[in-house]
Amino acid sequence: MRAPGSELPILFEGVSVEANTVRILSDVSLALAAGMPTVLIGPNGSGKTTLLRLAMGLLAPSAGRVTWGGRDRTDGRRLAMVSQRPVMLRRSTFANVTYALGAAGAAWRGRGTRARGLLAQAGLLTQSDRSARRLSGGEQQRLALARALARDPEVLCLDEPTASLDPANTRAVEEIVTTIAASGVKVVMATHDLGQARRLAGEVVLLVGGLVCERSPASQFFSDPATSEAAAFLRGDLVI
Amino acid sequence: MQIPRSTIAVTFAFLVLFCTQAVAQEKSIVVASTTSTQDSGLFKHILPRFEAKTGIKVRVIAQGTGQALDTGRRGDADVVFVHAKPQEQKFVADGFGVRRFDVMYNDFVLIGPKSDPAGIAGTKDIAAALAAIKAKQAPFVSRGDRSGTHQAELALWKAAGIDIAADKGPWYREIGQGMGAALNTASAMNAYVLADRGTFISFKNRGELAVAVAGDRRLFNQYGIILVSPEKFSHVRKDQGQAFIDWITSAEGQSAIGEYRIGGQQLFFPNAAQRP
């Protein structure tokens, strides 16, 4: 059931992005539809982050267009993002979440209760009163997830959320992401961790050098890649 | 901790503004006067009596005579109380003041180091003393600030037949500051300096300085008081200002001036009854 104002599907039609004459994305056409998580994989600099920022409406394409549920613009109200190194506000853990709730327009009255619920989900309830900047890397990443969920998002973009985490913290984050996806939130995640892609992906988009190389359901991508680049990437060879 | 700082700031600012507002509402006048009357402690002696009698608070701004007259000319004071008669008369003639009254006099003294390089200590003729200072190129500190004392000094050089503007050399130091600063400078340099007797008596950082020349009739220093013209400046507190002038020229005010002494010495000699 989608409200008339739904952000999905997010459609990319012939989208290119250039910055200072450097082409970051070339003629990308892609549909992000409701359903299983979409995982963007590819080497560093292949355009994954740029694609996520376009999907968030934080960046305008140099050519082509992006639409959300058929509309040319989004107010971003139900889009949320966790960046690779999320910045913690100089406030308590609890206040970081209530701030995100406020920014999302949540009523002042219920914020405390909702914040506690989100912190519990992120496993941070005992850290509520600590300064967010003094949390560990894994805790900060989970707090960023709680902040993103405070927006009650329809689409959640994750940019290498576990890149700097140890295995235990990586697993904790992945568990939260799985739960979120299961609750009907469309997850779009960039990663270069193939194992993570295998564990979470519903479909895989391989980006190489700003081009979409291959897009296929996860099971097919990992068992029977259609392109030589994908096969090489899966073998662990360098793909440039 | 949770109250926004801006709220505290605004509250505090208004609080202080209200306090000062309240103070400004009471009966008060602003008197532009000279450093000599202030620094000698005369005002501390006489003003409480006037305030007790009338309830009018007198706020004294101590400046040089020239600056004090300027303050009156801009309408920033209600009364001027200074010592440079020609300038005062011009002030009244130009319409900035109502009328000038004599109040008191003291005298200037030529201060110098005990070593006395010009050899003038104990003499009475100020013109001859200044001529000797110039002849010996002995260091001399001038106020150089258009104050009453500065005007008097310039008139004395003229009386000695010296055109100081043309003849000054490195021995003549114009500092452009008040009496106290001039005395501090003279004390540090062991220089001669013209000062009013009151300020010198109450001055503490004398070092080697002592009175070198005194008693010449030309060292006579007359103080006058003028109400700033209410016609020119409608905000001038005419009644309260006039009340102060009436009091200081009355027998009561005059005797208060005459009673003021430091170390047994009388500093100011009331002469309000003698009209110019």
Binding site: M56, L58, G76, A80, M81, S83, V87, L89, R90, R91, S92, A95, Y99, A103, A104, S131, R133, R134, R151 | M1, P4, R5, S6, A9, V10, F12, A13, V16, L17, C19, T20, Q21, V23, A24, V30, T35, Q38, D39, F43, K44, H45, K57, R59, V60, I61, A62, R74, G75, D76, Q177, M179, G180, A181, N184, S187, S202, N205, F233, H235, I262
Partner: protein
């Protein structure tokens, strides 16, 4: 009278006149800092966040004005507030209010310039996060000022220190009236001119002690705050 009072006794003995001078100094400089902050914090934040033609020029001028000579500011304030000047109708020349006004003028560039730097640095850090949260411009400014509050306390202290230590503006617009507009610094200048160097130095030590105390208080507040929210 004056010569009967020993300098040390006056400074240490809690003389009521000295108390009044200290009270006025603190009240004037704190009010001036508060008044300046009302103008300078939003101004600094605006300069940090909004680009407009001539912005680099404004920033350079503002930074240069951090070193405005107090005497010049005092003179400008005097000409504004004099009965013959454009703000003469207020009738506040030679009152504590004029001193607050003049010191605020002196301190505004300091607070605004340092605020701009602080807020701009924090904005660089927060930009992506706040943009992704779609925080609107005005709440954005509020967020940055609030989250930079501990740094801004230091900025305000810099302004307060400047206001409390200067003598040029308060002397000119206050007139150094005994018991009314006499502050620590003008009292020091006066005692120096009266040749009572010991008393002047004693007052100077009291002033420095006060500034240290205010800074210590602010530092403690900052420390406590940082432990909870830094």
């Amino acid at each position: 009278m004056v010569e009967e009072t020993s300098a040390l006794g006056l400074v240490l003995g809690g003389d009521p006149a000295l108390y009044e001078i200290v009270r006025l100094s603190l009240a004037v400089s704190l009010s001036a800092t508060a008044l300046a902050a009302l103008v300078a914090l939003p101004l600094g934040a605006y300069l940090a966040l909004v680009d407009f033609p001539g912005r680099p020029f404004v920033i350079v001028v503002l930074n240069a004005f951090m070193g405005l000579p107090p005497v010049v500011v005092g003179l400008a304030a005097f000409l504004l507030l004099s009965r013959s000047g454009p703000l003469g109708f207020l009738g506040i020349l030679f009152t504590p209010r004029a001193m607050v006004f003049a010191q605020a003028l002196l301190v505004i560039p300091i607070i605004a310039a340092l605020t701009r730097q602080t807020i701009e640095d924090l904005w660089t850090e927060y930009r992506d996060e706040l943009t992704a949260m779609r925080v609107a411009p005005m709440p954005r400014v509020a967020t940055l000022i609030w989250d930079a509050r501990f740094s801004l306390v230091t900025v305000l202290l810099a302004g307060f220190g400047r206001a409390a230590a200067e003598v040029g503006t308060v002397m000119i617009v206050g007139g150094n009236i005994d018991g009314f507009t006499r502050t620590m610094t003008t009292a020091i200048a006066l005692e120096t001119s009266k040749g009572d160097l010991a008393l002047a130095m004693g007052l100077g030590i009291v002033l420095i002690t006060l500034i240290v105390l205010v800074n210590a208080a602010a530092w403690s507040i900052r420390r406590i705050g940082e432990i909870h929210a830094g």
